[in-house]
């Protein structure tokens, strides 16, 4: 009895320790960005100061620099626009491709799927050279449209592979049933497979969007003008001048860009994890 209670308390404590350690670890970058955003540069650079608190009163000067003297809002808008377009293109290509590979190509589907995924592993640092020719040929250099063309080259393979996993988990009999019930294969795909794999599709959307926001090599090599920059390149390029780091503004830029994505992730967390097909089969 005594030992049992001790054991319960012990496991409670252990659980909380793990939770707290991870929470602190994961929240710390956000805290650091937040505090640095509002810290005076003098406060930041004085090594005797406690770095975790405000030693001098907070300031808005970094935000003023970010919004007043760089095209930060324009970069956010560019990135969001490219993100939405690339997500759309990715879904249009990857959904039917993944479905066809899982259901219609028989035993070749899986190897081809893996083959497609392998192209995702070719590093952009190699690919940007031939792709720059493509971009030049299409006359898209120095516009956001260059990356709109290039990004699907890695988002589509990854998404196809991801979606194949989701489609495979849908029992085949469900589609058979839908076709007997009066849908064509395309109808069954749109009205049955897509709604059932909603969690997979959402995962693809968020993954694709994240890949677009964090991509660096293509955005750096294909686009130069400040007004056409993507967030990932604009921020380090224009807020690091020579060896001068505008830490406050850098952190502000990162914080503003990452919070919406973090919220989005948390909002759909259940959907990612949800065993969505539970109850479909006995």
């Amino acid at each position: 009895m005594q030992r049992g209670m001790l054991h319960t308390i012990g496991s409670h404590v252990a659980r909380w320790v793990v939770v707290i350690v991870f929470a602190v670890l994961l929240a710390f970058p956000f805290y650091w960005m937040l505090i640095t955003t509002f810290k005076k540069t003098a406060d930041l650079y004085t090594l005797e100061n406690n770095p975790f608190i405000f030693n001098l009163p907070p300031t808005l000067e970094h935000l003023r620099l970010l919004f007043g003297q760089t095209a930060y809002l324009r970069w956010v808008a560019n990135t969001a626009l490219v993100g939405v377009i690339v997500v759309t293109i990715t879904l249009i290509l990857a959904l039917p491709a993944a479905y066809a590979l899982t259901r219609l190509t028989g035993r070749w589907g899986q190897p081809i799927g893996i083959g497609i995924f392998l192209t995702y592993l070719v590093p952009p640092t190699l690919l940007f050279i031939p792709l720059s020719r493509v971009v030049a040929l299409l006359n898209l250099q120095d516009t956001i449209w260059s990356v709109v063309v290039v990004y699907p080259s890695f988002t589509v393979p990854f998404s196809v592979w991801l979606l194949m996993g989701f489609f495979k988990s849908i029992p085949r009999e469900l589609e058979d049933a839908a076709m007997v019930d009066g849908l064509s294969r395309l109808g069954a795909f749109i009205k049955l497979v897509v709604p059932i794999s909603l969690s997979g599709i959402l995962t693809v959307v968020i993954f694709t969007f994240t890949l677009v926001t964090q991509e660096f090599v293509y955005a750096l090599t294909f686009i130069s003008p400040e007004s056409q920059q993507m967030l990932g390149v604009g921020v380090p390029t224009f807020l690091v001048r020579g060896d001068v780091y505008y830490w406050g503004s850098l952190m502000a830029a990162c914080l503003i860009a990452s919070v919406p994505i973090a919220i989005l992730y948390n909002l759909f967390l259940d959907r990612f994890i949800a065993g969505f097909t539970v109850g479909a089969v006995k």
Binding site: A177, D181, I196, V278, G279, A280, V281
Partner: protein, 345 residues
């Protein structure tokens, strides 16, 4: 309602290999409950899927209601199918599951509620309409699947092992429910199973399949009492029929016909059996005996006895079989033949 017919229907999955379904000719009767019975891999599900239009036949024709439907998609065949897994749509409520075929086939929206309620009432699931499939028990899921199948008033019902995933107790009641359901709606039904008890209990006729070939088609009495070959003879009945090679013939007799000799006054032949093992099944005993002496020395025979039997293991008893209970098969073809006079000693 309609009649389903197949003509020389064949399905070969991989060229050069043995077909999954070979030259199947069958014709259902109006409103009949036809059972496809066979072990796994016998081609019964493939045959059903071809009738449904989910699988393209390699050769042969399928007719529903008198016209060839080979080129028609599943939805154009006006059939309904209940799957082994029930295949309920997990993201839709029971109501929407049942209404799904109506919606898919463009039935006017005003009629949906009325039809769904009719089907739900028929199966006694009115109170489940707002639930999701995952909140239902196995039996309830089966009823929802049936309601979804019946709602569009199909010409033919196809059922693919719908009871195989239920537990034993539920299976018996679900079976009875299916029988009553068929009586009430009277639609031609094809039912696939590997369970001979289901087949015998439910089928108006039973079609026995083995390795893609039809071995026999007939009423449960016909296939049990007059099996067309040794496969059917041993596949139906549990424990299976005893078979003994005797000259040019194979002779078979069911365990329930191998009885203590005093109960078989007109025995065609008798065996002296040493009881190797016995199983008590409540209502009956199953005796496993080894023939001792004579032409069949050492062969194992199975006898099924009433619960009052008191045979002891390792003791020897005399058993006999009546003339009328013997089945004769050709030794080469294993097909049923007429009665023969044979030497038993």
């Amino acid at each position: 309602m309609a009649v389903v017919e197949t003509r020389a229907l064949t399905k070969v999955f991989k060229e050069g290999e043995v077909g999954a379904v070979n030259d199947v000719n069958l014709q259902t009767r109006e409103g009949e409950f036809l059972v496809f019975l066979g072990p796994s891999g016998s081609g019964k599900t493939t045959l059903l899927r071809m009738i449904a239009g989910l699988e393209q036949p390699t050769r042969g024709e399928i007719l529903i209601g008198g016209s060839v439907v080979n080129h028609l998609t599943p939805r154009e065949r006006r059939i309904a199918m209940v799957f082994q897994s029930y295949a309920l749509y997990p993201h839709l409520s029971v109501y929407k599951n049942i209404a799904f075929p109506l919606k898919a086939q463009g039935v006017k929206k005003e009629l949906h509620r009325q039809k769904v309620e009719w089907a739900a009432e028929l199966l006694g699931i009115e109170r489940l309409l707002d639930r999701k499939p995952r909140q239902l028990s196995g039996g309830e899921r089966q009823r929802v699947a049936l309601a979804r199948a019946i709602v569009r008033e199909p010409t033919v019902f196809l059922l693919d092992e719908p009871l195989s995933n239920l537990d034993a107790k539920l299976r018996a009641s679900a079976r009875e429910e299916l029988e009553l359901f068929h009586k009430r709606i009277g639609t031609t039904t094809i039912y696939v199973t590997h369970d001979q008890v289901e087949a015998m209990a439910m089928g108006d006729r039973v079609m026995v399949l083995h390795q893609g070939y039809v071995r026999q088609i007939g009423t449960p009495t016909e296939v049990y009492d007059h099996p067309s070959d040794t496969f059917v003879a041993t596949f139906l009945g549990s424990p299976p029929m005893n078979l003994l090679e005797n000259g040019e013939a194979i002779v078979g007799f069911r365990p329930e016909h191998l009885q203590p000799v005093e109960l078989v006054p007109q025995a065609a032949t008798t065996f002296r059996l040493r009881v190797k093992n016995k199983e008590y099944l409540g209502a009956e005993w199953i005796l496993y005996g080894i023939v001792s002496g004579g032409k069949f020395d050492g062969r194992e025979l199975i006898s099924r006895l009433g619960s009052a039997a008191s045979h002891q293991t390792d003791q020897t008893y005399d058993f006999g079989v009546g003339e009328q209970d013997l089945h004769f098969f050709d030794r080469q073809t294993e097909k049923r033949t007429g009665a023969k006079v044979l030497a038993w000693r």
